[in-house]
Amino acid sequence: MNDLVATAEKPADVTVSAKPRGDWAHRLLVLLPGIALLAFWQWSSGRLIKEIYISKPTAIAQRLFELFASGEIYPHLWTTGQELVMGYGIGVAAGILGGYALGRSPRLARIFEPYVMAFYGVPKIALAPLFIIWFGIGVGSKVALASIMVFFLVFYNVYAGVRGVDREVVNLALVMGANQRQLTYHVYLPAAAPYVILGMRMAVPYAVIGVIVGEFTSSIQGLGLFIHEASSTYDPAGVFAGIVILLAFVVGANAVTGRLERRLLRWRKPSGQGPSDI
């Protein structure tokens, strides 16, 4: 409506030019320390340290190939995979619901926050034997352990995120005509989304720890059991093979949540502000 403005106000520069060459160089740079470490490991095994202690990368690769070729690992993978997905899913869902409820209601928060804090302080690993008694040595106990570890992380992130929503933004939405449901959908959830996703990303390794600790304690099947048996039979290649599989899982899950983050938080992209990555 005014020429002065049209020229004076230009949108912020949003197009970040992609540089494929720089990208490749960066990737190489990231891979370099890993390759160096593997090479050193390979070289030192049998020279500096006995192979029976640390195995060596080629032996681990060989073992991994055998495990998949013979199909020996698949039942373990299936069990652990189920436990991880269920434990993570339940933990995240409960964490979001609990964090949201307490974040929205100061009254609920006053009553329940001290309890959540107290239980947060309990070392979850100490609960593992108890969970085996309660939920059996099957999938149930591992799901319980993983979900409780995931829950607290997600809970606290969501709780902080919802409580941190700017009161003025909420008031604005109310004046614009929002009811409680609309307030949740249009204001609280999107405002808390960065925190929800941060919690979800941080929780992935904790789900793995919960499941593996559970399987170490007592189980019939699973990667944790596989690693445990390998280590008790002096089979370092087997231990490392199991760890590599877990590693691959964590990296894969991280990529998935990272994708989710870019998708849901694309509005935050240009400035890149928000809760810091931990």
Partner: protein
């Protein structure tokens, strides 16, 4: 009395003080009215409760004493018939510009086709056509402010409450925005209650200026500004009669600044 859109009657407001001290009395017996189609500016020293008045009109805060009425109806819950333009633009960062502007219509259950059309109109009226799919973080401060105003105008609220809306803008953008607001308000015949601490802004925009005093504040004066419209906001001194109007406001306001100089007041903003 009868054509008053908003009526503040004997408003008093206390805010709890830190610790066990007696509550701070911010507003003390304040009464004034905003007539339909009028642009009323409220000025007063910092911390005197100007913004508090707007919150009361929006039904976000209950006055400790007195009542606020909107067309005769006592405001005792969130008042959805007003529009609120805050100090910061406060567009929702997770929505694009057009989604932001569309939101009030969406919340009020207006059909898609009408929403689209009204969003396009509202964005055009503030000069933001072509920026529909930008996120607020990709827009300049002035553009965000325009978006914020479009988001308010789009549902044609009965009264528009503006809380120092141009305070955070640079001087040039500010003048342009004042000019545009004057045009928009005139075209829409809007009733506006406008809080500011800038006397020039108040005089050049308003039909009447309400002057509040030091905390605990009461009404010092209501001064009608009878300058012809449209007014020149870029060179306010060129408006015939501007100097006299400014003097009328300043002569009342000056006393407040002198008092402040002699006895520094507490700087607790509610």
């Amino acid at each position: 009395m009868s054509d008053a859109v908003l009526a503040f009657e004997g408003i008093g407001q206390d805010f709890p003080a830190p610790g066990s001290q007696a509550p701070i009395r911010v507003l003390d017996g304040l009464s004034f009215e905003v007539a339909s189609g009028k642009f009323v500016a409220v000025i007063g020293p910092s911390g005197c409760g100007k913004s508090t008045l707007l919150q009361m009109a929006a039904g976000l805060l209950k006055p400790t004493r007195g009542t606020v009425r909107h067309r005769g109806r006592l405001i005792d819950a969130v008042n959805r018939e007003v529009g609120f333009v805050p100090q910061q633009a406060q567009l929702f960062p997770w929505k694009t510009l057009s989604e932001n502007v569309e939101l009030p219509l969406l919340l009020r259950g207006i059909a898609v086709a009408e929403r689209r059309q009204r969003v396009a109109e509202a964005l055009a009226s503030v000069g933001l056509s072509g920026f529909e799919d930008y996120y607020p973080s990709q827009l300049s401060g002035g553009m965000q402010k325009r978006g914020s105003i479009a988001r308010t105008l789009i549902y044609r609220p009965d009264v528009i409450l503006m809380d120092e809306p141009f305070g955070a803008l640079d001087a040039q953008t500010r003048m342009v925005m004042q000019h545009d607001l004057q045009t928009l308000a005139q075209d829409a015949g809007a009733t506006i209650l406008f809080v500011t601490h800038d006397i020039t802004e108040a005089v050049v925009l308003a039909d009447s200026v309400v002057i509040m005093g030091q905390r605990p504040s009461h009404l010092l004066a209501t001064i009608p500004i009878d300058l012809a419209r449209p007014r020149d906001v870029f060179e306010p001194f060129r408006n015939p009669g501007y100097e006299a109007a400014y003097d009328a406001v300043w002569s009342v306001f000056r006393s407040q600044i002198n008092i402040r100089h002699r006895a520094p007041a507490m700087e607790a903003t509610p």
